[in-house]
Amino acid sequence: MQGVLDAVGPESPGGVVVPTSYYLVLSAVLFGLGVVAFVFKRNIITIFMSIELMLNAVNLAFVAFSRALGQLQGQVFVFFVIVVAAAEAAVGLAIIIVIARNRGTLDVERVDSLKH
């Protein structure tokens, strides 16, 4: 990879390629959009997808810090986050199937047994 992308910019002295703050701001924006989707969407599958979006935003921050600090632990963490997200998706989608079977709807506004 070093041969491909780092060789593109021979004029980058001292290794300053893209400032880490750019990545962190992008990560914050994506996380914020994930929160907005989580709050505003009504379909339970879309709400679940917004959780995945937030996990992805955090992964981006992990990789950016890993690169900035020159340590590999951040990428190991991203690996574990992806594994946990896969397990979470399997269980969560099973729960969604059960909800759809029992209530006949995917609208979270109509899953309100605890309210009444």
Binding site: G15, N43, A68, A85, L93, L106
Partner: protein, 166 residues
């Protein structure tokens, strides 16, 4: 502007546009497809940072496996369009501006606090080093994740099983 920053800006714009599209689309399958766009753009950003293993895992596991599972469930449940959500007046006139102010503030402080952090390491992280770290120091958590996945499979099977089968 170096080529890296141009590539970063393009990929960041694609990612943010995909995330916005996820919010704006009303059919879940369109939201799922725009989330795949976000994930592919993030994989490009990982490549830009020299994390090629993470980029490959992102494409294979996230865009390939998890999102296919999502789309499979959307089709299985025949999920239709959700009703148009109308924001309440409080949400429209207080919530949205407050959210924007909060976002700008967070972005400002992050950019300011980390502006001194240039990318210190120029060399890309090799997958060999990453796997050495993963299978030496983090081998116990790695093995634990296999138990986690096993339990998740069992939980999903138990949850999604039909009730009349027992």
């Amino acid at each position: 502007m170096t080529p890296q920053i141009a590539v970063f800006l393009v990929l960041a714009a694609v990612a943010v546009a995909g995330a916005l599209n996820l919010i704006l689309q009303r059919h879940p399958i369109h939201s799922a497809l725009s989330l795949i766009v976000v994930m592919v753009a993030l994989a490009g950003l990982y490549l830009l940072q020299g994390a090629e293993f993470i980029a490959a895992v992102q494409i294979i596991v996230y865009a390939g496996a998890i999102m296919v599972l999502f789309i499979f469930v959307i089709m299985l449940l025949n999920a239709g369009e959700e009703e148009r959500e109308n924001l309440s007046r409080l949400a429209r006139f207080v919530g949205v501006p407050l959210g924007l102010v909060f976002l700008v503030e967070v972005a400002y402080w992050i950019a300011r606090a980390t502006s001194h952090m240039a990318q210190s390491s120029t060399q890309a992280v090799s997958t060999r080093e990453l796997s050495t770290l993963l299978f030496r120091e983090y081998v116990f958590p790695f093995e634990l994740t296999s138990f986690l996945i096993l339990i998740a499979i069992l939980g999903a099977l138990v949850l999604a099983r039909r009730e009349d089968s027992d």
